[in-house]
């Protein structure tokens, strides 16, 4: 089941939450809507589900216009950040809910309901909790039950709103890998919302980066990380250092420093933004570079993060070195070093 989103706009009072969103999600894809809070990602998800009505635009499921169809008839499975389990029902009854509320003619017989619920509980590996109540479960268990409940109605589309947002870091990591594998087994078109770029990059087939109600970039995890389309994407996905400067004759000029731009054929401009990720900053290379003072050194597992202050007073730079490289350079706090981006991305306004 593919989803087509055509020119969706939505305002809340004077606040424009979505400014004309166009997006096509292929059948069986797992897509992440990624963006900072307030970027409109949850609103978009709720509009796809039919929980919210768009001001204008269309939503098509498999080429069929569902814009004005009630959420009840859209056959979407929706998973909420805070689970939204029915607390007065047992885990079993929660999962069975979608089957029990069907009109009498379509309702499966009791034995069939039992079999299906049992199957789903096994799928989320919680069949031993069938008789518990949601209040007796941990957060991760609750979210898996919520997922089983959503799958019980055999939805054509699965929508997840920050599904791991309320869980602690370790559980979150396990659960998102598990979700990925679950999706590989089910092949159900899925969209999930997250503000956690790591989560989006790890789980999704494609990442949709949203900012201020607009799509900044759509692409695979590698694409958005390695070839960010806009300065926003560059800054939002992963850590990054920003330099101001200009481009002249195929070279980047940052202050007094000249950096060759070998594989980028940029036209000359008076103003340009340069981005380099921390691991792309080299310290102590010979030749020209930006002079900076070491301000802080922090070890993070096998990597060492060095925080530097530019001598020309134009802000801080963060570099990431391997332990070996760090040992080679013998940098210490207060040292004056020359830094050089080994790779740089150029954005011209």
């Amino acid at each position: 089941m593919s989803i087509e989103i055509r020119n969706i706009t939505k305002s809340f009072g004077s606040f424009q939450a979505l400014k004309g969103i166009d997006l096509t999600i292929g059948s069986g894809e797992l897509v992440a809507l990624l963006g900072p809070s307030g970027c409109g990602k949850t609103t978009l998800l709720r509009i796809i589900a039919g929980l919210e009505a768009a001001d204008s635009g269309q939503i098509l499921f498999h080429g069929e216009d569902t814009t004005h169809r009630h959420v009840r008839e859209r056959r979407v499975g929706f998973v909420f950040q805070h689970y939204a389990l029915f607390r007065h029902m047992s885990v079993f009854e929660n999962v069975a809910f979608g089957l029990r509320v069907r009109p009498r003619g379509q309702r499966p017989p009791e034995a069939e309901i039992r079999r299906r619920v049992q199957e789903l509980l096994e799928l989320v590996q919680l069949d031993w909790l069938a008789d518990r109540h949601p209040g007796q479960l941990s957060g991760g268990q609750r979210q898996r039950i919520a997922l089983a409940r959503a799958l019980a109605v055999e939805p054509k589309v699965l929508l997840l709103d920050e599904p791991f947002g309320a869980l602690d870091a370790k559980v979150r990591k396990d659960l998102r890998r598990w979700l990925r594998r679950l999706h590989d087994g089910l092949h159900i078109t899925s969209v999930f919302v997250t503000h956690d770029q790591e989560e989006a990059l790890e789980v999704a087939d494609r990442v949709v980066v949203l900012n201020a109600g607009q799509i900044e970039q759509v692409g695979s995890a590698d694409e958005v990380y390695d070839h960010p389309a806009t300065p926003f994407v560059c800054q939002f996905i992963g850590d990054v250092n920003l330099f101001h400067g200009r481009v002249h004759g195929g070279r980047a000029l940052i202050g007094e420093t000249v950096i060759e731009l070998p594989d980028i054929a940029e036209s000359d401009t008076e103003q340009a933004l340069f981005f380099a990720r921390p691991h792309e900053i080299e310290i102590g290379g010979d030749g020209a570079g930006i002079v900076a003072v070491v301000r802080d050194i922090r070890r993070r597992g096998n990597a060492v993060r060095v925080e530097l202050e530019r001598k020309d007073g134009r802000g801080a730079v963060e570099a990431e070195l391997s332990r070996e490289a760090f040992g080679r350079h013998a940098i210490k706090h207060g040292d004056e070093v020359v830094i050089q981006p080994s790779k740089i991305r150029v954005f011209q306004p």
Binding site: F86, V101, E154
Partner: protein
């Protein structure tokens, strides 16, 4: 149907147990448990237990047979039927209508909402006699509302129906004020989840909303009922106090007091107390049962 992916790397196991070791002495950030408990018991004794005990003691002067005789005359039995029947009926009406009022006040924005909200408390604040006179005037066969009933061929004032109306009036705030905060806390997501699973509005209400608010609704019902049983001021005017027809038990107690039959009056009071206590206990048990049924309280 679906195939499960391989095992989760680690199962997150059981959550921390919700059961606390129950000891009489509980540790917390606020100290003073023995003092607080002692004071509470003393206070409850002074305010509730001592007056009630006095009632029991006074009625005991009648002896068993005297007591039994006093509380089972036809006139008294008819008054029980009216008092408890009307109080139950009024509480039931309030449970339905009060829920509706609370729902509208919580869920909808409309001009005058704050005013409507304040209006709910009026039955609390109004001196009951004032309410009684107003109701009697409105519902008498010449009153604004009563005249239509008279045209339709039935009477409201001076009948059990009138009594029920008075008790409904007096009990409304109890239901609205107990249900309102629960409705405000009700997660919208529960309704959205139900809808996304294919539930109709009616199913969502019956299977999701009602079970969630039912403990509060039952509390409101119990409070409205208890208030209705003890109500005097607002009822006696509209009731007309016709023996065997529209005479409530509290009025019989007053009548006995006016005849200096203190023991007889307390005997009636004790019998009312016992019935009320039994009914309230039953409601509490029902609440406890529903709460237990859904496992631990969250």
């Amino acid at each position: 149907m679906y195939k499960s992916p391989d095992k989760l790397p680690l199962d997150h196991g059981l959550p921390e147990s919700n059961e606390h070791m129950r000891t009489y002495r509980q540790h917390g950030v606020l100290p003073g448990f023995p003092l607080a408990l002692g004071f509470t018991l003393l206070y409850l004794s002074l305010i509730v237990l001592v007056p009630l005990s006095a009632t029991f003691l006074k009625s005991a002067t009648l002896g068993w047979s005297g007591f039994f005789e006093a509380v089972t005359t036809p006139r008294v039995l008819a008054s029980y039927k009216l008092t408890f029947g009307a109080a139950l009926a009024a509480a039931a009406i309030n449970a339905v209508m009060g829920l509706l009022v609370a729902w509208v006040l919580v869920r909808y924005e409309f001009p005058g909402r704050k005013l409507a909200d304040a209006l709910v408390d009026l039955p609390f604040a109004l001196p009951t006699a004032v309410a009684g006179i107003a109701l009697a005037t409105l519902y008498s066969s010449k009153g604004w509302i009563g005249q239509f009933a008279a045209q339709a061929g039935f009477k409201i004032a001076f009948t059990p129906l009138g009594v029920t109306i008075a008790l409904t009036f007096i009990g409304l705030p109890f239901v609205v004020r107990t249900v309102q905060p629960i409705l405000e806390d009700l997660e919208r997501e529960l309704e959205e989840a139900a809808a996304s699973l294919g539930a109709t509005r009616w199913q969502t209400f019956l299977k999701v909303i009602l079970p969630t608010i039912s403990p509060a609704l039952m509390t409101g019902f119990a409070l409205a009922f208890a208030r209705g049983v003890g109500e005097y001021g607002s009822v006696i005017f509209i009731a007309g106090n016709i023996p065997l027809v529209s005479e409530i038990t509290p009025l019989l107690i007053i009548t006995k007091l006016e005849q200096y039959d203190y023991a007889g009056a307390t005997a009636l009071a004790v019998s009312m107390l016992l019935v009320s206590f039994t009914l309230l206990l039953a409601i509490n048990l029902l609440q406890w049962w529903t709460r237990n049924r859904r496992g631990s309280r969250v």
